[in-house]
């Protein structure tokens, strides 16, 4: 047993570390999807956020300015998507793909300038919780982590409140279910969808920063490795509910942590199986094998005011 604790601890810590970028990104993406938009460009938002975070940290040496850079670039990229899909009514898949390709291309093109001085960037600060971090298992898991875990917990709770307890949240969810009714009630579908997409971009940037600046401090080519798609998967499996979603992310984070261990130390099951797991579960959920998934009714449909 003595030896088990450190093993379990490092595994659980890795689980948390893997799931935080997913949760942070997903909270914002939840707003996007709840108003009836599917944005695969969230992958690009994360990627450019991870890049801009490192760039900001390298230039200013200040983690808060770095995170701000990530948020702003993620938000700006999502505005391109918003303009195309909401104002121009472009296909959401195509616009999202274009955004992803743009983010990939730009980050690789600019990478040589980023890694010129080969130093590590400043990281998210670790919150000192005093005696709390000495509690077995729970201590290292929750109380010896960076500020990002608190951000993830607080933002999940706030988002639950906003989506379900405020009238703005109600309007946003209504846009995803029946945009014409929202328009009839005198609210702007266009504005709500812009807001939903922008929040997705901002949080995507933050999630990206959590990926590159939580414990690494550098950027590598395509470092998001399809985590944006895992976020979309977790939203389906978590039935577009912030709390369920966060739990699913923890589970997917655990799969990711297991996968890394399987690659490093070998395992009975091939590590690719753990990597597949989020996507397999999503297909199972979509096929309706375990309960009914309630996607927003206007999921992936453009809104045409002329037809309202």
């Amino acid at each position: 047993m003595e030896d088990m604790f450190p093993q379990i601890n490092t595994f659980l810590q890795a689980t948390i570390r893997m799931s935080i970028p997913l949760i942070l990104t997903g909270i914002g993406t939840l707003y996007t999807e709840r108003c009836g938009i599917i944005n695969i460009g969230v992958e690009g938002n994360m990627l450019i956020g991870a890049f801009a975070g490192v760039a900001g940290a390298m230039v200013t040496g200040n983690i808060y300015i770095a995170v701000l850079c990530a948020i702003i670039t993620g938000g700006l990229l999502s505005l391109i998507f918003a303009f195309l899909t909401v104002s121009r009514r472009a296909d959401q898949m195509v616009a999202g793909f274009g955004v992803n390709l743009l983010a990939t291309g730009i980050t690789i093109t600019l990478m040589p300038y980023l890694n010129a001085n080969r130093t590590r960037a400043v990281l998210f600060p670790v919150v000192d919780t005093g005696f709390l971090k000495d509690i077995p298992i729970l201590g290292p898991l929750l109380f010896d982590q960076s500020i990002a875990i608190w951000l993830a917990i607080i933002l999940t709770l706030i988002s639950t409140w906003i989506l379900y307890k405020t009238s703005w949240g109600l309007s946003l969810r209504a846009v995803g279910e029946n945009s014409k009714a929202v328009a009839t009630a005198g609210l702007s579908v266009i504005k709500l969808r812009y807001a939903g997409i922008l929040l997705g971009g901002i949080f995507g940037g933050l999630g990206g920063a959590a990926l590159s600046l939580n414990n690494l401090g550098f950027f590598v080519q395509n470092m998001t490795q399809s985590r944006g798609f895992i976020v979309l998967a977790a939203l389906v499996v978590g039935k577009w509910n912030p709390v369920y979603f966060a739990v699913v992310c923890l589970f997917f984070g655990a799969a990711d942590a297991l996968q890394l261990r399987a690659q490093a130390f070998g395992s009975v099951l091939p590590y690719q199986l753990y990597l597949m797991l989020p996507y397999l579960l999503t297909i199972v959920a979509l096929a309706g094998l375990v309960g009914k998934t309630k996607a927003p009714k206007e999921y992936a449909k453009p809104y045409d005011p002329e037809q309202a």
């Binding site: 291309g105 690719q272 990597l275 992936a300």
Partner: protein
């Protein structure tokens, strides 16, 4: 149908001619804008964009080796773009080409590794068929769910991409399956030479795939436009309710179309293996499956247009290397150009002027 015929009679019916030119002008305009914006990014890196583009052009069409490289890059984009085109025409948005092409590549590789006592052309044919089958099989679940259960193919195909990529990764890591032992990067054993697609021009890498791809383009154009299968497919894509009213079996049309689209993607992987890579790598495609969406859209979702757009993107990819070597601009600028082109295309798409369609044939 009447208007499509008119479009070929230049000058006789100006409406048809305008339609024809407009269809081509939007992609061209988007590409120009993409080059313009990318030019600014290149300029910011301290390089003359014209020099960079000239390097791309030389790298793509400068000599026979360059042109061979362009053909090699064009082949998968063209075949995949045709599959996308068929899908979109038939009312399906297959985002799953990436996964399907991995499965196609794996199936083709598996057959290509078999020491069959058959002539080379048959070995090639069998391997290609295996690839088509592999891709089709990977499209089976989304096709079934979409056609018979009403579940959107979009998210299911995206998710299956990753499952497919990791499945192939397992195949090329596992020596009992396809993996080559003792190599640093996970890959399969090399396909037997009897299954290699023949090289068309000595000293280049141009292989038979480009001929297959271009032929497929003309065949698909003909099938979509002149056969009853094509007509029914387009009808389901344009207006499923009307198609259903006209006694077209919409469900089976969607099902079969997506299986065929998957077959196209599978062929992409197979041709890439037999013609160019000759062994299956972990993550060999690098997003090629998604690029077929761009190719199909910039080709105006028309098989003949796709031939043009795939050569354009194939040339860009082939020329990107020379750009990096000579002027030091990263090849990833090619991705930026491609991304901007598709973003501009969907951005200006809405501004397409609404042309009045005559309800009845005007009197002569």
């Amino acid at each position: 149908m009447k208007r499509e015929q008119d479009a070929t009679m230049f000058g006789v019916n100006s409406q048809g001619l305008i339609d024809f030119l407009l269809a081509g002008s939007r992609p061209v305009a988007s590409v120009m804008l993409a080059f313009l914006v990318s030019g600014v990014i290149i300029l910011l890196q301290g390089v003359n964009p014209l020099e960079a583009y000239l390097a791309v052009l030389r790298g793509a069409f400068g000599d026979k080796v360059a042109f061979g490289n362009t053909c090699v890059r064009t082949t998968p984009l063209l075949i995949g773009g045709l599959g996308m085109t068929l899908g979109i025409r038939g009312g399906l948005f297959n985002v799953g080409a990436e996964g399907q092409l991995y499965l196609g590549a794996a199936a083709a590789t598996a057959v290509g590794l078999l020491p069959l006592a058959v002539p080379s052309w048959l070995h090639i044919l069998l391997s290609l068929s295996a690839g088509i089958l592999g891709g089709s099989l990977w499209a089976f679940l989304p096709a079934y769910l979409r056609a018979f259960r009403g579940i959107s193919e979009i998210v299911v195909t995206i998710m299956l991409n990753f499952v497919g990529i990791y499945f192939v990764s397992y195949l090329v890591h596992e020596p009992r399956l396809l993996a080559q032992e003792g190599v640093s990067y996970a890959q399969s054993r090399t396909i037997l030479e009897s299954a290699f697609l023949p090289i068309l021009v000595k000293g280049t890498s141009m292989h038979l795939g480009i001929i297959i791809a271009v032929l497929l383009g003309f065949i698909l154009y003909f099938v979509l436009k002149y056969t009853s299968f094509g007509f029914r497919t387009r009808m389901v894509g344009a207006n499923p309710d009307a198609a259903s009213y006209a006694a077209v079996n919409v469900k089976s049309s969607l099902f079969v179309t997506l299986l065929i689209v998957g077959g196209f993607s599978g062929l992409v992987g197979a041709v890439e293996m037999l013609g160019f890579k000759h062994s299956l790598y972990d993550a060999f495609s690098g997003g090629m499956g998604y690029e077929t969406i761009t190719v199909a859209l910039l080709g105006g979702v028309n098989p003949l247009g796709v031939i043009v757009s795939s050569f354009f993107f194939g040339g860009l990819k082939a020329g990107g290397n020379l750009m990096q070597q000579t002027v030091g601009v990263s090849t990833s600028m090619v991705q930026v150009i491609q991304a901007l082109a598709v973003l501009f295309l969907v951005g200006i798409g809405f501004m397409k002027p609404k042309l009045k369609t005559p309800k009845t044939t005007p009197p002569h």
